[in-house]
């Protein structure tokens, strides 16, 4: 009990236990999305990389090959509709999420934009996150798998500089493999660094330009979609 600032009011000091997670609001929406995707058997990917690692280009070169799977795409960028326009030509529903400065996508943005691309029997939802290796990592979007992309031009120590995304990813893609011969690219070092952060992580090497490695990437996706469908709904 104490009197403060001569106001004559008596105040009581109190210790309050809180224990609430700063991400609770996002996590709640993400859990709701995850339950609804599970009930419908929709497999959801969250693609995360630095700007320019090749997320949009990879999608441009693989979306058409995913047929007969029914695929929709949400693409996040700080500004402009450019990436969505590039992807629309592939014949799948695409919605651009313009974050207007925010460096990551949040579950609420996904929930708000989902109706624009939702299909009655959707098999696969691909979310291209805002180009950034730090912030998107912390925001659950209700996805089944985070995919970390790193291109051959970015330096082998990327996984050590940005470990959290490689730690949380279910698969890593090394993109622009066609450029490796022209660079002092140390493949073994990159793999070793990825596996330092995440022992045993699946790493696939791909080139959207030459098509190298795309088969394995497509096979990985199809296997995941199948597995999700096989799980009884409502789980």
């Amino acid at each position: 009990m104490c009197e403060t600032e001569g106001t004559g009011h008596l105040h009581q000091h109190q210790h309050v236990a809180v224990h609430r997670h700063a991400m609770e609001a996002n996590d709640e929406i993400a859990s709701r999305l995850r339950r609804s995707f599970a009930a419908r058997g929709v497999f959801v990917l969250n693609l995360i990389s630095a700007p320019g690692s090749g997320k949009t280009t990879l999608l441009e070169h693989t979306l058409a090959q995913l047929a007969p799977l029914r695929v929709s795409v949400l693409v996040g960028d700080v500004e402009t509709e450019r990436d969505a326009e590039r992807l629309r030509s592939c014949g799948v529903p695409v919605s651009q999420i313009v974050t207007a400065g925010t460096c990551h996508l949040e579950a609420e943005m996904v929930a708000n934009h989902l109706p624009e691309v939702d299909q009655r029997e959707l098999d696969l939802l691909i979310v291209e996150n805002v180009g950034n290796l730090v912030c998107p990592t912390a925001y659950d979007l209700g996805e089944d798998a985070k995919v970390a992309l790193v291109s051959t031009t970015e330096g082998e120590d990327k996984p050590l500089k940005y470990p959290a995304i490689f730690h949380r990813a279910q698969v890593a893609l090394v993109t622009k493999s066609d450029l490796a011969p022209y660079l002092d690219f140390d493949r073994e070092a990159l793999f070793a660094n990825i596996h330092t952060v995440h022992p045993g992580l699946d790493v696939l090497e791909v080139s959207a330009k030459t098509g190298e490695g795309l088969d394995r990437w497509l096979a990985w996706i199809r296997a995941q979609v199948e597995a999700k469908r096989a799980v009884p709904s409502g789980v």
Partner: protein
């Protein structure tokens, strides 16, 4: 980076918890910063100080940020051990099949408040 969004959430939670406790003023907010989240503590502290003005209950609050280390539980031997770096493995048996138990949350832990004594 996203420290500003995180600061907004911390302020929202602290303000809500203060209201629930019937507190008119918050003196101190204890925040646990999980190492795994790679939060820039200085940037987070800056945004908390800058934005607490918008919350009358929090205007004088001091934010105590404490880093929370990563601890993992081993799926092989069941031991819980602290981790010093990435590439988590059991500190007891060396097995790499481990689950993170602490260090992945940004948590408003506790507060010192003044309740109006009516």
């Amino acid at each position: 980076m996203h420290e500003m969004s995180l600061a907004v959430e911390i302020l929202r939670i602290a303000d809500e918890a203060a209201a629930e406790a019937g507190a008119g003023r918050v003196l101190r907010v204890g925040v646990g910063v999980g190492w795994l989240l790679q939060v820039e503590e200085q940037s987070l502290a800056f945004h908390l100080r800058a934005m607490r003005q918008d919350y009358p209950r929090l205007r004088e609050a001091v934010f105590d940020l404490a880093e929370e280390a990563v601890r993992v539980r081993c799926r092989a031997c069941g031991e819980e051990t602290q981790q010093a770096d990435w590439g988590f493995s059991c500190g007891s048996c060396g097995c790499r099949d481990v689950a993170v138990v602490t260090g992945d949350r940004l948590e408003v832990q506790d507060m010192e408040v003044l309740t109006d004594d009516v």
